[in-house]
């Protein structure tokens, strides 16, 4: 397979609002036809970055290269980029069809072509039956599809989506996540989605960037970000993580109670420095074999049955917070545990990630 082509290069882009730095020298490459997620807590700069890609904000510094051409100062109506707004921003005085046609009318295309392209996208987004309705007569999910159709019909090089599923309830959200992914494959357009929902990015994105305080912390595939977080913040923000605070040693972390947690220590971490060892809940086993590198005992404080698996809160001497452990329903059936039980738990050194604290 050949190296995928870079569509959009964000090159050392910064944005200041007065004395506040919203985006701080971010560089990112977004590839042709990928589903890219910008993820971070609110105020991390992801929305500002998105608005710079759409053309509603001008970078204070840096370049935004689309197909190699700097578009940082191109007005929004002159870039082959479309944004699906969080509020959908459908024109309330226009029908669904008029909303979707609007962008093509701006390109001064022949009426016949507009009609056929609008018909096609209404069919793709299953909106044919609603073509003559006004936005106020639509449900949240239908409005979302109109907003998507309105942006997609322009066949942009890049489609930006600002928290596209934020207004939908949880069940509809799951369905729309898959729907968006299917559509992205079907139309072959690069999607950049902004979200604060880490689960959403894990499910949908081919690659994701984690932002905090205007800075890029990590940019990689969901799998790599989940398994090898760049720092403690990313480890905590993506998924669930158990942290064991302590001090770095040559081959692991010395916990506060004197226990040694084996794991690979990053080169940058000097012996004796404050460090934290971490392990994902699904990597911890109950009743481990004697060869397991890291072992401890704890008391089951609470259980939560979740269908596929069982979530346990286990109090251990290693950390002030109880450990979260996920056991498959299958394993739980073979060796049942109950609240108040003393259990042994263990995990491999290879599953431990160590960060500066």
């Amino acid at each position: 397979m050949s190296e995928p082509r870079t569509l959009l290069a964000i090159d050392q882009v910064s944005k200041n609002f007065g004395r506040v730095t919203a985006v701080d020298a971010i560089s990112l490459d977004i590839r042709e036809n990928e589903f890219f997620a910008l993820l971070g807590p609110s105020g991390c700069g992801k929305t500002t970055l998105l608005r710079m890609l759409a053309g509603f904000e001008t970078p204070t510094d840096g370049r935004i290269l689309l197909d190699g051409k700097d578009i940082a100062r191109t007005p929004p109506n002159k870039r082959p980029v479309n944004l699906m707004f969080q509020s959908y921003a459908l024109f309330p005085h226009m029908s669904v069809r008029a909303n979707v046609s609007y962008g093509l009318e701006m390109e001064r295309l022949p009426a016949k072509e507009i009609r056929s392209r609008v018909d096609a996208i209404l069919a793709t987004t299953e909106l044919v039956a609603f073509a003559d309705r006004k936005p106020e007569q639509l449900s949240g999910g239908q409005k979302q599809r109109v907003a998507l159709a309105r942006a997609l019909v322009k066949r942009p090089r890049l489609l930006l989506l600002d928290e596209p599923l934020g207004a939908l309830d949880k069940k509809l959200r799951g369905a729309m996540q898959l729907e968006l992914k299917r559509l992205q494959h079907e139309v072959g357009i690069t999607f950049v989605i902004v979200t604060h929902d880490q689960e959403e990015s894990l499910v949908m994105a081919d690659r994701m960037a984690v932002l905090k305080d205007g800075r890029l912390l990590q940019c990689d595939t969901p799998h790599a970000v989940y398994e090898h977080p760049a720092d403690r913040f990313v480890a905590d923000f993506i998924g669930v993580m158990n942290f064991i605070p302590g001090k770095a040693s040559a081959d692991g972390v010395m916990a506060a109670n004197g226990a040694r947690i084996a794991g690979k220590v990053p080169a940058a971490l000097t012996s004796g420095a404050p460090a934290v060892a971490s392990v994902r809940p699904e990597r911890i086993r109950l009743f481990p074999s004697d060869e397991t590198a890291n072992r401890t005992t704890g008391m089951v404080e609470a259980l939560a049955y979740q269908g596929l698996d069982l979530q346990l809160h286990i109090r251990t001497p290693l950390s002030p917070k109880p450990f979260l452990v996920r056991v498959t329903a299958d394993a739980a059936d073979r060796r049942p545990v109950a609240s108040g039980d003393q259990v042994e738990l263990g995990w491999d050194a290879a599953d431990v990630r160590i960060f500066a604290d």
């Binding site: 759409a54 053309g55 509603f56 007005p75 929004p76 109506n77 479309n82 944004l83 707004f85 969080q86 509020s87 959908y88 921003a89 459908l90 024109f91 309330p92 005085h93 609007y102 962008g103 701006m106 390109e107 006004k134 936005p135 106020e136 949240g140 409005k143 309105r150 942006a151 322009k154 934020g166 207004a167």
Partner: protein, 280 residues
């Protein structure tokens, strides 16, 4: 409900009914009222002389409305685009003249438009030496006075829908390839028409019946319907004809208000939608 009805009956329905009744009687020979039924007064309203004054009043009120809407909308747009915390201050200054007396505000225009008034002096200061322009006691002066007096209504009426408009709608239009001008014409303007209509009706209705401004800025010879009604009641002592003219004026006003109410009803759906914007 009941107190409101009593209030409305005592202060609106009864006086209007009395004036309406008056219009069906004859004028007494020495003024006063001769209580014999007639439709003559209404016939006289359509006399070319008086119908002409109606038309002229409508034209002046219409022109004043047009200017007030253009200036008022632009002002409201600028205020709505200003930083949030400045908006109440700008609005306060826009409405400030409104809290002074109507007569004083109108007299101020005499000071401005006078032959040797402020505008003439300003022209002289810039080196103008010719005849002072005659501005006072013209139709233009009357229109300027009406526009000035009723501008705050338009600013307030247009500011409301403009400030509530979801700014993402304009951004969406730009994003879809529209220029700023097209965005204004196809998105912002249609969604703020109810405010324009409300402001326009206000200016038109108050202007067409106005008699103070034409009397002061139009000079003694200048007549609009309001002056005509005033003269019939207070100078000519022809109360029945005055009443018929007043009824014709009320009829015009009601028609305009009904047209506006119907237009607003049609537009109300899209306005509530535009204000909400986001669902969550």
């Amino acid at each position: 409900m009941a107190p409101a009805l009593v209030w409305l009956t005592a202060l609106m329905v009864v006086p209007c009914a009395l004036v309406l009744a008056l219009a069906f009687f004859r004028r007494g020979i020495y003024g006063g009222i001769d209580y014999t039924f007639t439709l003559e007064n209404f016939g006289l309203v359509f006399d070319p002389l008086y119908a002409g004054i109606f038309l002229k009043s409508a034209r002046i009120a219409g022109t004043a409305t047009l200017f007030a809407v253009v200036i008022g909308y632009a002002a409201a747009y600028a205020i709505a685009a200003a930083p949030r915390r400045w908006q109440p201050i700008f609005l306060f200054f826009a409405v400030l003249p409104f809290w002074s007396n109507y007569l004083i505000r109108t007299y101020a225009w005499i000071v401005l438009l006078n032959r040797e008034g402020l505008i003439t002096q300003l022209l002289r200061w810039f080196g103008y030496t010719g005849e002072p322009p005659s501005m006072l006691y013209t139709e233009g002066a009357v229109i300027a006075g009406l526009v000035y007096n009723y501008l705050p209504f338009v600013i307030l009426a247009c500011y409301a829908p403009l400030s509530r408009l979801n700014p993402e709608l304009a951004e969406a239009s730009r994003d879809l390839g529209a220029s700023a001008a097209t965005t204004f014409r196809r998105v912002i303007l249609p969604l703020t028409v109810p405010g324009i209509a409300a402001g326009a009706v206000f200016v038109f209705v108050l202007s067409i019946g106005n008699f103070v401004t034409p009397a002061l800025l139009g000079g003694g010879r200048f007549q609009m319907i309001g002056n005509l009604v005033y003269d019939q009641f207070l100078t000519a002592n022809d109360w029945p004809f005055g009443a018929a003219l007043a009824m014709a004026l009320i009829a015009i006003t009601l028609l305009v208000l009904m047209a506006q109410a119907m237009a607003a009803n049609r537009a109300s759906g899209r306005v509530t939608e535009a204000n909400g914007g986001a669902d969550g």
